[in-house]
């Protein structure tokens, strides 16, 4: 709660939280705001925006409501972004914790795998993964997580290595605590804050990656996403550019919200450290 108050005191945090809260509401109430399947044909094709009050943002080539697509696309973007980031951070924490705590050969081996994942462009990896397994929402989530877990793993390991030598860990060892208990009760909570600060960046990157994947036609074809809407509009870019521009704006606003939130969070953490 105190963190939330600190967060709201920074302008970045307040704006970011506001944007994210609004988007979460849109995502939750998308079926109420625009009932029905957003992929169904709703009206005349290629209606320009701001002309028909029934379709404020117009319709696309097949006569699908653009506003409905954007509202429902919020769900996909947020869900995929959050799920992928969550998976990436969970994998990263486990690997980093194991590597940092076990040391020796296990550490060496795990870090070489991390190296391998860091030198392969994660977007190429996701592209290959989705194309091999087939496009569906869980596969896209996994593909994005696969390219994003290496950074949190490295950061967690570095944290663990520095915390492991501290006095309170030594005393926990002296009183005969089980290594696993030390890892999860003493080290993990203290290693977490910087990793959490990184997580907002990972969410933003995951949202952008999802959009790029579905832009290239590798998203789940049964779900409406902003990336696929932009790709769809690209075919008739010359005559009606608005079809690509509106979902893009939604994307930019979302990512800005996440960045601002993360900046506010970092500042709130920093302020906390200053005033003990």
């Amino acid at each position: 709660m105190r963190l939330l108050r600190d967060l709201l005191r920074t302008p970045e945090g307040a704006i970011g939280l506001g944007i994210l809260a609004a988007l979460a509401l849109v995502a939750l109430f998308a079926p109420v705001l625009s009932p029905g399947d957003p992929l169904r044909i709703a009206g005349r094709a290629l209606l320009p925006p701001f002309t028909d009050p029934a379709f404020p943002l117009g319709t696309d080539r097949l006569g699908r409501d653009v506003l409905a697509g954007i509202l429902h696309g919020t769900r996909t973007s947020l869900a995929v972004g959050l799920a992928a980031a969550l998976a990436a951070i969970a994998i990263g924490l486990c690997v980093g914790l194991t590597a940092g705590f076990a040391g020796g050969l296990i550490d060496e081996g795990l870090m070489r795998v991390v190296d391998a994942f860091q030198i392969v462009p994660s977007f190429l990896l996701a592209l290959a993964f989705v194309s091999v397994i087939g496009a569906s929402v869980p596969v896209v989530v996994l593909a994005i997580a696969l390219g994003a877990w290496a950074d949190p793993a490295r950061l967690t390991r570095a944290q663990v290595l520095s915390i492991r030598e501290r006095d309170y860990v030594a005393s926990a060892r002296v009183i005969g605590m089980h290594p696993a208990e030390i890892a999860f009760r003493e080290i993990l909570p203290n290693a977490l804050p910087p990793v959490l600060a990184l997580s907002a960046i990972i969410v933003a990157a995951a949202i952008l990656t999802e959009a790029a994947l579905s832009f290239l036609g590798l998203g789940d074809p049964n779900v409406v996403t902003w990336g696929s809407m932009i790709a769809e509009g690209r075919n008739i870019l010359r005559s009606s550019p608005s079809l690509s521009i509106f979902p893009g704006i939604a994307l930019v606003i979302t990512v800005i919200g996440v960045y601002l939130f993360s900046e506010g969070l970092t500042k709130a953490f920093a302020g906390r450290r200053l005033e003990p």
Partner: protein, 312 residues
């Protein structure tokens, strides 16, 4: 490290349902089982997984990346043919974004929390949030479709018969939009890193010392603060090289540039496992090379980092 990349990629592509022969038969309208069998034999797809992994490694040692089924040509030839375009795109985008990004970062970081700093920081935040492919589309709507100043796609005018400088100028004209789309976003990133590095450097003791010595402000900014902030920026450049290569896939697809990224997309749609594998291996090699150069630059910038010292 590269070994692990090869093994992991191999396992990933191995888990695919249906191989290149299936895709090929589908594209020619089907065929019977004996044809598929003989094709698999010809490409060595009927052997066990471990045998093929060993085969891949041994041919990799002689720089043979295998045979692309979709194109009917050696993978290495295809990659080498496309790589220069991508390197041109990435290289110019990196140079521009690094140059402008660090320069603007110095302007912003010269006086932290000033209005100039606030404006630049906010602008870079918004710019950094823009997906590169959407920026590319918007740029091409404005400059190519509406204003008709620049071409929308391709790397050069087809069959223009130009040579020498005229051809170089033609390619440069085609590259303005894609490079711009890629560079603007990374410029924002570099600006942010530079700015925060400088804001931190202002609090360090040697800057305080330089100020108390009475050095001029511009000298302190450039020689003491900016130089120190350049180090994390160079590190960032290395870290981002993999992401930039990935970003060029999408940019190349928008502007129809026959490069590395387009090749990856074609490999995906053709279910061309050897080609996809070769692309991933080569891009990993590329990223390692870039980071090697970065390490050398780092040693040159920071006298504390010796080339002979073992760095972890």
């Amino acid at each position: 490290m590269l070994l692990i990349v090869v093994v992991l990629t191999f396992l990933l592509l191995e888990s695919a349902s249906g191989d290149a022969v299936d895709a090929y038969l589908l594209s020619i309208g089907g065929g019977d089982a004996t044809v598929a069998q003989s094709l698999r034999q010809a490409y060595g797809l009927d052997q066990s997984m471990l045998a093929r992994l060993w085969l891949y490694f041994s041919s990799l040692a002689t720089f043979d990346l295998g045979w692309s089924v979709a194109f009917g040509r050696p993978v290495l030839d295809l990659i080498l043919e496309r790589l220069p375009n991508t390197l041109l795109l990435m290289g110019s985008a990196t140079a521009i974004s690094f140059g402008f990004g660090s320069a603007l970062g110095i302007i912003a970081g010269a006086k932290p929390e000033s209005i100039r700093d606030r404006v630049l920081s906010t602008a870079s935040l918004i710019l950094y949030a823009i997906p590169s492919f959407w920026l590319g589309l918007v740029l091409s709507i404005v400059f190519a479709v509406q204003l008709r100043w620049l071409p929308t796609s391709g790397i050069e005018t087809i069959a223009s018969g130009k040579a020498g400088i005229a051809r170089a100028a033609d390619i440069a004209r085609h590259l303005i939009l894609p490079v711009g789309a890629l560079a603007l976003i990374y410029m924002a990133l570099f600006l942010r890193v530079m700015r925060s590095g400088m804001a931190e450097a202002w609090t360090l003791d040697f800057v305080l010392f330089a100020r108390s010595k009475g050095l001029s402000r511009s000298r302190i900014v450039l020689r003491h603060v900016a130089r120190n902030a350049l180090l994390p920026l160079v590190t960032m450049l290395g870290l981002q090289s993999a992401a930039m290569l990935g970003g060029s896939v999408v940019i190349e697809s928008i502007f129809a540039i026959p490069g590395f990224g387009r090749l990856a997309q074609e490999a995906v749609s053709g279910r061309d496992a050897p080609l996809l594998m070769g692309i991933i291996v080569v891009s990993a090699v590329l990223v390692v090379c870039v980071n090697l150069v970065i390490d050398l630059v780092y040693a040159a910038l920071d006298p504390r980092v010796g080339a002979s010292e073992p760095n972890s």
